[in-house]
Symmetry: C2
Subunit: 233 residues, 2 copies
């Protein structure tokens, strides 16, 4: 019951054979690859795989599911991404990349604290509630509550994601504090944990299909606390 998980995979990574013969960057269309061309685009296939994992979880997803979603058959999947676990890890990294990028854009917009946080939670809820068949929640939270217990590598990824989010919020609060938008007595770290916790609770509730207005209300209440409840009402 425990040893069925492969914490450290004995899998001889299938891409390791070709050292670096072609394509140092992704999707360079020019230089004429040698053999039969791929029938898929690695990045879109990975996005499809992420969709399935995100919805069904690792244990709930079969290779046939992934095969159907990506349009690739199992050997191609294996050749492109390695085994199921490696594909899951790559999917998670793709998820984090996407989230990081969207949150980075919001941060760069450099708005006043309250608007900034409103935008961030709007983006988060947008991700959590998206998916053509029902809301999916937060992939980091899902991974934490499932595979993170057994697999040290995945656990490290999850922790990295969690602290990255904490630090992101802390930076926002620190910046706001420097601008005088927050009292000097406020603790950016405590506020960042509150902000992350709000993210987690709406992710969990979204997954249980709590309707969006309720989630918005939770966010609004948290924002009132974080921003000092002044103005806006």
């Amino acid at each position: 019951m425990v040893q069925k998980r492969n914490g450290a995979t004995p899998h001889a990574t299938p891409q390791a054979k070709k050292a670096k013969p072609t394509q140092p960057l992704a999707a360079s269309p020019g230089p004429k690859r040698r053999g039969r061309p791929r029938a898929y685009q690695p990045d879109v296939a990975l996005a499809r795989a992420l969709d399935v994992f995100w919805k069904e979880g690792f244990a709930g997803t079969s290779l046939d599911d992934l095969s159907a979603a990506t349009g690739m058959n199992r050997p191609s999947l294996y050749g492109a991404f390695g085994d199921k676990r490696e594909l899951y890890i790559k999917s998670y990294e793709a998820y984090r990349d996407r989230a990081r990028q969207r949150m980075g854009e919001a941060f760069a917009a450099d708005l006043p604290l309250r608007e900034m946080l409103e935008r961030i939670y709007a983006i988060a809820l947008d991700m959590y509630l998206s998916g053509k068949d029902g809301p999916r929640g937060c992939f980091t939270v899902m991974t934490a509550t499932s595979e993170a217990v057994f697999d040290p590598a995945i656990r490290d990824l999850v922790i990295t994601g969690l602290v990255e989010t904490d630090r992101f919020f802390a930076r926002i609060f620190r910046r706001a504090q420097e601008r005088g938008e927050l009292p000097a007595s406020a603790d950016p770290q405590v506020l960042s944990h509150l902000a992350s916790g709000t993210l987690h609770t709406i992710a969990v509730r979204a997954r249980a299909q709590v309707p969006r207005p309720e989630l918005d209300a939770i966010v609004k209440g948290a924002l009132d606390l974080m921003c000092g409840a002044k103005a806006q009402s």
Copy 2:
């Protein structure tokens, strides 16, 4: 990939045949049941099953796992609790019962707000971090992030659990407010969501094996915010 889940089970519940012939209450040793006596105690077997589900999740738990954990073989399991899904539901209810009881005891102690909350989070962390092989987090959060998406009945259970916790915290804050421990401007509902959110975030982090001191620090920061940061430092 979707229809493999059984939202409404066509399972003809195996206990339905005996209307209510014996044992209206649990474990009444006296009244002489008819056939071969059970080799297990239903409540302890259920607790063992909960342990496995809690750690491994629904999809990650096999009937062999459950059989090994409970000491019952599959037919006995089936006869006692129904199929895997029904056993999961019964396990979840057992979990909620246990949590409700422990939290109820804390509530009855009727302490000042801060001590009350400290005790509640101590109980929660105690549950989240328990388990002989690693922390397990919150079973409600785990169920929300996995089975709640597919199975309406399980989803309803999860939502019931979530709002029950929200209301529990709201009652605590309302009581504190009536006693003057909180300013009249405080919103018990907003605070209750913050309290639940803190529960969720430490559950997620516990599952990722964040060490207890960090979790304690997060709780302390949240308590400072909830209780107005006065005193205690």
